[in-house]
Amino acid sequence: MDREPRTGHQPKRTALTERQLINRASKGDPAAERAIYDTHVDRVFRMAYRMTGDEALAEDLTQETFLRAFGNLDRFRGDASLSTWLYAIGMRTVLSGLRKVRRLRERETDLEMAPELPGRPRRDAELRLLLDEAIDALPEDMRVVFLMHDVEGFKHREIADGLGITDGTSKSRLHRARAWLRDYLARYGFEFTEEDAS
């Protein structure tokens, strides 16, 4: 897996405002498109990867997100910030991509086969595998909110915009997701301690 250095292409920090960048990009200016891409690509890619767990698919969905965004920039009215608008496109793209691909990962969760993580007690390795399994098993509407909010740090407003739901629904799904995970782990006798999270 090749890794490009993050410092390979730093966005140009000019005096351009976001509105100026959008105007230029909407006219097809590649430098402006690149500046927008550089600012937001990490978050879009991370979201896509969290949801898919598949690097090639996450790349495809990230590319599709930016292509859709660039193709529709002239319709961006500026009611929300560019990032909110872009992440909303990203979330819709990822969810629709997931549904299309129907690539439900089948994890080999045989705990006997699970490798010991270096320097960690066995209980920790089991807990992590169990947590992965639990997140995988979460119903999609709860999983996306949990991953976006608790893991990737999106705000409820951003998630609500992306999924076409209200802030309240996003909060309620998050609450249900946490309770669901707690129940799932408790069935196997696991509870979190400060040590588990560290």
Binding site: D2, P30, R46, R50, E191, A197
Partner: protein, 232 residues
């Protein structure tokens, strides 16, 4: 007691979120690799909008606009005459009908006169609907004017409409913009020696675009709700 429980809950949620960071932990963003593909696709999109072949003299702007204005005048005059005939006709048949119709139909007739530019858009929309339906259904390219030629012609007319006062109607403008993209894709899909079956992924993109933007239903709605050319 409640505070203690609340604190415990908060701690549990923090720990859960922290532990969940290991779920599908993303690798470093392959930004250059993705950008290369995005840039190539954007380049392709720009190139996909074909430059129409040199237009015949009768479609050139200097000729077209005066012709369009003249056509609008003719249409306007025609509508005016038709309106007057409609008003006059009942009185010849039945005197009572004149009394019933005259006061209400005069303002109605003048206020509902169709915008000539929107009227001019109707046949373009109708031909575009036919073409898109044929391409979508995988119909064989007919002899004579090919799908590709028709798409190029309609693309030019769509752009003219976008530059005309017809585009002052926001719904029609949006539809025309979407049609511009759909027609450009149609040109790509149907160009070549074996047009329709040639490029599956292009076809898929075209069909996805038609569905996603509900282009055919919007076209039909515009055709049924827009001004009619019947009787002119």
């Amino acid at each position: 007691m409640n505070d203690h429980r609340h604190d415990e809950n908060n701690r549990w949620e923090r720990n859960l979120a922290e532990a969940a960071k290991g779920f599908n932990e993303p690798p470093e963003t392959p930004r250059e690799r993705m950008w290369d593909r995005i840039a190539a696709a954007r380049q392709e999109q720009h190139e996909a909008v074909p430059t129409p072949a040199p237009a015949p003299w009768w479609t050139r702007r200097q000729v077209l606009w005066p012709a369009a204005v003249a056509a609008a005048l003719v249409i306007g005059l025609g509508l005016g005459r038709l309106g007057r005939q409609d008003l006059a006709a009942p009185s010849l048949v039945d005197g009572s009908a004149t009394v019933a119709m005259a006061p209400t139909s005069v303002p109605e007739e003048t206020s509902q006169r169709p915008d000539p530019y929107q009227l001019a858009a109707q046949p373009v929309l109708a031909r575009t609907e036919t073409l898109l339906m044929q391409v979508k259904s995988g119909a064989d390219d007919p002899g004579g004017e090919s799908f590709s030629q028709r798409a190029v012609g309609l693309l030019g007319q769509t752009r003219l409409l976008l530059n005309s006062p017809a585009a002052e109607d926001p719904a029609l403008k949006q539809l025309l913009e979407d049609l511009e993209i759909a027609l450009a894709r149609t040109v790509r899909v149907t160009a070549g020696p074996h047009p329709v079956a040639q490029n599956d992924s292009e076809r898929q993109t075209l069909e996805d675009g038609l569905v996603r933007k509900a282009i055919l239903p919007r076209l039909r709605e515009q055709l049924t709700s827009g001004p009619t050319t019947v009787g002119l």
